[in-house]
């Protein structure tokens, strides 16, 4: 245990590199978690299909890019995700309105199954490489501060920039537009929002569309990193601890939670993983989130739930 701290002290450059790597990974987790939060906030649906949506969006994008330039493919994929949101709202959410949370959760699991199958049926199930025109070679930065510099992947920096831009756009959308105001109203209180004339169905359509586009961006970045393949659907599982850490209803929570999980996971993996057998990245994030939960049951930024009999 002590040797770990000694190691950190002796090689601060390496430590910074690990932390930076963790932050980059965290940004990616946060991107997926963001989609969850948007939907949970506005409709109270725990959307397990977010991972499937990431996969579906990435597959659409990568296959469309084979026949058209990037920007056209991106817009077309956006249109596909909006159409998907429309279909989900019409065919799944509307008939199930007013059901308990667990039933809606189950329905999103059904959606996840359907999308996994549907996406791979129409777009194919091989591993596709997504070229965004971003160099993937690692570069050294901060060479003047640390001996040997810090190794950073350019793609990761690109991902962080994209994620940051997305968060800014979303924040502006939520805070400055009329639709954003309606969305916040619905998130606050469904009934009150409806009674002052906010059309719920329309709002859900928008929220699912936005979540779909967030999934597209997440799929784009993850796909560029890992290749577009079925394992992207499992990225959702990585985003869950981020959610419980940050709180289901908080956008900043998703970001901060993602960063904490990313850094914690990387540090644990690099410094402690080898001592207990390796491969701990699958569960470490969950345990980290659990420990946080024991002190703050509603997550870092979640709303405090006040219960009355």
């Amino acid at each position: 245990m002590l040797s770990v701290f000694a190691q950190i002290y002796e090689q601060p450059g390496f430590f910074v590199e690990v932390v930076l790597g963790g932050l980059m990974a965290g940004v990616l987790y946060a991107l997926v978690a963001l989609g969850f939060v948007l939907i949970f906030k506005a409709s109270g649906v725990f959307n397990f299909a977010q991972g499937a949506m990431v996969l579906f969006a990435a597959l659409s994008l990568v296959r469309l890019m084979e026949v058209m330039p990037f920007w056209a493919a991106f817009l077309a994929s956006c249109a596909i995700m909006v159409a998907l949101a429309f279909a989900i709202e019409r065919l799944v959410l509307r008939p199930l309105v007013n059901q308990e949370g667990i039933v809606l959760f189950m329905a999103t699991l059904g959606i996840a199954f359907f999308l996994d199958g549907f996406g791979q049926t129409i777009w194919g199930s091989e591993v596709y490489t997504l070229e965004l025109g971003v160099p993937k070679d690692p570069v050294f930065i901060l060479e003047s501060v640390f001996e040997g510099g810090v190794l950073v992947n350019q793609l990761d920096i690109f991902a962080a920039v994209v994620a940051g831009a997305l968060v800014v756009v979303l924040a502006l959308f939520f805070q400055k537009t009329k639709i954003g105001l309606a969305l916040r109203a619905v998130a606050d209180d469904h009934q009150a929002a409806q009674s002052i004339g906010v059309p719920l169905n329309y709002i859900w359509l928008i929220v699912w569309s936005v979540a779909g586009i967030v999934a597209l961006v997440a799929g784009m970045v993850w796909g560029a990193k890992l290749g577009v393949q079925f394992s992207l659907a499992l990225v959702a599982l990585k985003a869950l601890p981020v959610l419980i850490l940050g709180g289901f209803t908080s956008v900043p929570g998703a970001i901060v939670g993602g960063l904490i999980i990313g850094v914690g996971e990387k540090i644990a993996e690099v410094y402690f993983g080898s001592q207990i057998g390796g491969g701990i990245e699958n569960w470490f994030a969950y345990v980290l989130a659990l420990v946080f939960l024991l002190f703050r049951p509603q997550g870092l930024f979640g709303e405090k739930i006040i219960e009355r009999v």
Partner: protein, 354 residues
Amino acid sequence: MIYRETGQFKISYAADQAIFPIRQDLIGMLLILAVAFIGIPLLATDYFYLAILIPFLILSLAAIGLNLLTGYCGQLSLGTGAFMSVGAYAAYNLAIRVPDLNLLVIFLMAGGIAALVGVVFGLPSLRIKGFYLAVATLAAQFFIDWVFLRIKWFTNYTPSGSVSAPALDIFGYVFATPRQHYLFVLVIVVIMALVAKNLVRGRIGRAWMAVRDMDIAAEIIGIPLLRTKLLAFAVSSFYAGIAGALWAFVYLGSWEPYAFGIDRSFQILFMIIIGGLGSILGCFLGAFFISIVPILLNQVPAALGVPISTATASHLEYMIFGALIIFFLIVEPHGFARLWQIGKEKLRLWPFPH
């Protein structure tokens, strides 16, 4: 008219509290048991046992376990697969490390060990609720998967990590054929289903339901939350552990940790939701549906003679499965058990209009 309880007067408390107070239910149950114990063994083929009946029964048992926790006590859990694997590996280790231990004792102890692990992972339920808890139980799933994959002691240092169960030998009688396996599983499942049914009708089950409906209110009327929730986790994991041991020893024979991955947890959750939360009957209906549908979907392309690749077929299977789940949730969000309930109400009058 068929399902009419007119004239069945209950003249003692015992009759009123009977497990099947209505005669038609009792007769129906006895008929089902007769078919299961006598009819099926006379008719079924080996394929039928191995591909349908045995997995169906074992998964029903796991579904009962999860339903006790989620349907009755209201604690959503996504870690059933993990508790099944605890049962399976506990049984395996007991079988190879403790000589001459009776297999039934091994199964009971495996269930007990799973129950202990379940209690440990149930501890967060005292602080967190709902979907937060569901995600927390995923921690159990991933952690336990990792333990059996990486800590070689549990798999007896086999290089591939896959282990084989010993022969099913109880008091010198070896269960070898699929029919014997089926009967062995059937006896265990019937007994445990009966226990579960009685558990939920009694004090414990009522305490669970009170906690499910509103835990603060339950606490105020004097139900100890800590004990009740942890008991639900323990009993649920006990059932899951025995189901896991059966799954490993009887159905799989040899297995690796992936047999109890997160997909298994979701599969069992599907079962209880499609079948009906808070219903023992629902566990069987849901398990039947979820285990039979993929088999049927598998047969369809071959039966129609459509030449599609196996990959496409499996993707189509996913699609249809997902669509079916959504369809059934929309038709009846409370599951098959509720459909059956409605059917019984209708049968009271049918075929007469009034």
